[in-house]
Symmetry: C3
Subunit: 320 residues, 3 copies
């Protein structure tokens, strides 16, 4: 149970200080569990580079607005300032920002909804954490997933926030498994699996993210690289849809599971590695399963496969 | 955790006493958190007036049967008699009765299913409350929502209880946002937002409900009125489907959230008001999101948006 | 909370011993809560007889592979050996094996996926049990249901494991209630309701299962027989789809609920019998509801109606 450790008045000082800027960048880094300012800087850089490269610069600005909104909200609510100093109130907000401008039309209402949603991530994170505390787990990026799903579903009925870039709801789609399997293409799919953690479809961003992780912790970079490769291999073997593989959509949740199980929640070891490997494989099936489940709704699975698999692999509380 | 405080033998005495009639009316009042007999009397009156006005008198009789069934069930099960004295075993049953005759065809099997469903609300409420107790929340009207969803889904396959008045399942519907925004119409939408708490589509019933709330607690009436107005404004601004707005379907969950957060679970204050305001706005998005999610099933969202949002706003356990 | 009581090294001895064979058969028996080797032997026999009779012998071999995989997995993970000795790590695996070969095409990838899924049931069972422990319930067959759903959903997008024998996703299907209600046919439906616990559509297997239960505990056989009959009657009365009734699809979850509530989690008594009777009726509606809900996905409800209803009837913690 999180408690209040500083008075709001103290917190407001922080809001106009160098500390605030540090917290903002840490919030960006925490998406991949890294409490490191420079990792956060590079993540944001990678988002801007990739978004503009794709011709979707607004996604990067959405990310920035979401990150600022959810972090500032944490100053106004009586939330734990320990968590705040570690950037833990920002990482859901930045993902909300990426997702809103990726899937919704660019209207003023979309931006208002983005701000409301990013604000809610802060209180909903505390809500979920309070529920999960007794099970020894936390909410990971699920506040982002849960709230973004609600808003994307609402885009089906609210004309103010149109589902411009969402898939059409279909009962079951034709699958096109054709895929260029040359080494150069496989490299691109592998790097996009890493960049898609922030919903960015760019191999350049994938490289920037790997460097960002390496600066913080070499094992984070290693597990991210391994996880994307293992997931790519499994997705090809079980013949997942070719376009999804090519866009890195089977990689990003596996990357997060790999970092979470391989070096964040367990100490690095041989046994941990075997457990993380099984977790990465499981993530691929959960990813495929969620894609199949959400197809009739035309909804993306976001990082839900990562959350679900990581919870299932933490809940047995094995000590390795 | 609820415990047994009187013996069944004692309870049976109550079943044939004046107390029983009081408990019945309190059960009706508890739908909007009011432990007040006269509020309950007026709620039932409003239901009968509105249902007959709509030409759907059976809805009112369904409400009465559901209320009696779930309350009587609580006498036969070893349930808390404290809760019983406050009418807490009746409020889910009355809503079940309203919903069954609103959505299902009028067959003998529908009435049998109604009685089974209303009986189940009593034990399921205890089941859910036992799960939620450690999180500091309770099940609100979710036993009604959960069980009614099961029975409405079953109406898709059981010919005995036909889904006569349910929407057709569709993957995504055309949206008609045209809406008469004159003051007199806005007033009607606003009042229907309040009457729809009991699935009644009548502005007269909306007035009766406001009076009923005012008798019990002026703040309950104020928050109900405010919440319906705020939700109406937000739904118009984000361009929700016109017919839903006109029928008050964006109001009723917000009304319940407003009463719950504004004056029931928190003390009335400026800070509480801001929190309840955010909760009402969130309820509108959750309502739209659930409508979008349930459209492929042709299922109504009932009061689920209220339950979900209120839980999310109680779980952080902020002290204002 | 389950704890580690023997060292892995000790466990590996067991893996090559007579004990292992006992544990395997107990795992089969535990699907219907029977900790009895001969019950398990007869269950497996019934599966092989029924599967080959249907011309689907692979289902039986799938069952065996699933049972072996999940039981052996429990030797490698630091799981409770008390549970292991009682066969509690095998019952989800055997059901996974039955389901995979019933619904998916017979490709090498299907068998690999089966093994991965059966392995996961062991750790996921511990994960779910850890979550549910504080509520006084356990995960029943839900690890099987949950993981099989994920893999069946994934079959919609992974061409390696094709959904060959799954229903097409449809928004709402035409219902054919015509049903031969002669005594001899009713007997067959009733027995198939019991055999379908293992997804076997054979009245011969139903008889074998009843004998297997009777060997272990006469009340288990009585409740299984009663539950299938009550569910059959209720499904006919409320006019469930004729082909589902004829194939025993309204029986199997009710059979499990009957055994669970009638003699496993409560002591046999008149009050328990009334409670179990209500539970069986509720299971039929939950079954119909889940069928209606899962139709748009073309997904089977597996034993989810049993799990859900039994939890709802255990959670109030009534003492009879």
């Amino acid at each position: 149970m999180e408690t209040i450790t500083t008075k709001p008045s103290t917190k407001f000082c922080h809001l106009f200080s160098m500390d605030f800027i540090k917290i903002i960048f840490k919030g960006s880094g925490q998406v991949m569990f890294q409490n490191n300012i420079w990792t956060g800087v590079l993540f944001l850089l990678g988002i801007f580079v990739g978004a503009y490269q794709e011709g979707q610069g607004l996604v990067a600005w959405g990310a920035l607005v979401g990150l600022l909104t959810s972090t500032i909200t944490a100053y106004f609510l009586p939330l734990s300032s320990d968590d705040n100093e570690n950037g833990l109130w920002g990482f859901n907000g930045i993902l909300v920002g990426c997702a809103f401008l990726t899937f919704l039309g660019n209207t003023p209402y979309t931006w208002i909804a983005l701000i409301v949603c990013a604000m809610l991530t802060s209180s909903v994170r505390l809500a979920f954490n309070n529920v999960m505390a007794s099970w020894g787990i936390n909410s990971l990026t699920f506040p982002f997933v849960f709230l973004t799903w609600i808003f994307l579903f609402s885009a089906r009925v609210l004309q103010g926030i149109p589902p411009t870039h969402m898939s059409e709801p279909v009962l079951s789609s034709a699958i096109n498994p054709s895929l260029d399997l040359s080494i150069s293409h496989l490299l691109i799919y592998w790097l996009k699996g890493i960049s898609q953690v922030f919903l960015i479809n760019s191999w350049v961003t994938g490289i920037i993210f790997l460097i960002a992780l390496f600066i913080s912790n070499k094992w984070a970079a290693i597990w991210a690289a391994l996880a994307s490769a293992i997931a790519l291999f499994a997705a090809i073997m079980f013949k997942a849809p070719g376009s999804d593989i090519a866009n890195g959509l089977y990689g990003f949740s596996a990357v997060l599971t790999g970092i979470a199980l391989g070096m964040t929640f367990y100490k690095v070891s041989h046994k941990t590695a075997a457990w993380a490997f099984l977790g990465i494989i499981a993530t691929v099936f959960v990813q495929a399963g969620m894609n199949g489940m959400l197809e009739p709704f035309g909804l993306p699975s976001l990082t839900a496969p990562f959350c679900l698999t990581t919870w299932l692999f933490l809940l047995p509380r094995f000590k390795f």
